[in-house]
Symmetry: C2
């Protein structure tokens, strides 16, 4: 039931917005009483925070698996992280929209739980780039923090426009992105 409440909240917040959705709307959509709701969550913002945490925890967990793979190079790890973000669009687009749009409703206490996880995700990308510089896979003359934001920008921006069921597959998109990021678009001399 806890998961059902979270999922219904994601779609209602996603469609109507956080403020425009009442707890009554959520329980109506599920056909349960408010008592059921309050058994799992203390209020509406509490659900919002769980949406955020579940979204970012899911991404961090998948990233962790990629990072812990002892058979892949840093170049492959960076590729896999971008591919993983793209593949998560299909299931996570609405959750991500809610995440970015409704963040202002979270209290400082809530944000203190969410923001370090976002930072951790970015920091892990930066670490892969740094390690790739040490191993000689990547050039050393660019700031790794800015590069990590550039790579995340390419991947995350896809949430705003990419249609996973459209003419470009997730694999093709990842391939184009990583060719640009690894080799650049300038004609080789």
């Amino acid at each position: 039931m806890r998961e059902k409440i979270i999922n219904t909240s994601i779609s209602l917040f996603g469609e109507r917005g956080f403020r425009e959705t009442s707890i009554q709307d959520i329980t109506n959509a599920l056909g349960v009483t408010k008592g059921t709701y309050y058994y799992y969550f203390t209020n509406k913002v509490d659900v919002l925070m769980h949406i955020h945490l579940r979204f970012i925890d899911g991404l961090l967990e998948q990233q962790e698996t990629i990072l812990n793979n002892t058979t892949t190079s840093n170049q492959e790890k960076l590729y896999d992280i971008v591919g993983m973000i793209i593949r998560n669009i299909k299931s996570g687009a609405q959750s991500a929209r809610v995440f970015f749009r409704e963040m202002r409703h979270l209290s400082d206490e809530h944000l203190a739980k969410v923001l370090p996880k976002r930072d951790q995700f970015q920091r892990n990308v930066q670490d892969v780039i740094e390690q790739g510089m040490e191993t000689g896979e990547f050039r050393k003359d660019l700031r790794t923090d800015m590069l990590s934001f550039a790579v995340l920008g390419v991947a995350n921006w896809s949430y705003f426009w990419y249609e996973p069921d459209g003419e470009v597959t997730e694999e093709e998109l990842t391939d184009i992105y990583m060719t640009m990021i690894f080799e650049g678009i300038k004609m080789e001399k």
Copy 2:
């Protein structure tokens, strides 16, 4: 006064959200009557649409100037467009947040005015990439539409994290981005 109403609305919508801000809040902040407000705008959504239009029109106008420069290569034009987006963060961050976050409040009629302009901005980036392929500046083996979204992703994502007054200047950030986009991050063989 029209500009003042728009600017005050941007900061109030940005801080509190669109739904949480009343026309009364806006006129109170300006010290004017509601009559003044209704002289310029028919309702609250009307102002939201003007914020959107002004934001995207400003970007399109600056982009147009870059595109019309007959002395620059396509590579330089792409560089200049990304640099222009980064430089607009300082003045436009709040306006952009409102733009992305509150878009769902716009009617279909409103969206029909805004979305073609967003598409035009992306299409112009794609055209520069295509022309650069024709002139032999850029490699020809990657889809230009996907590349345009990749370049815009790098630039636009900065709105979510970049501090224009922080330790990395707008010029340095643009330089790092464009080095990655043009040359890639892989160590040259």
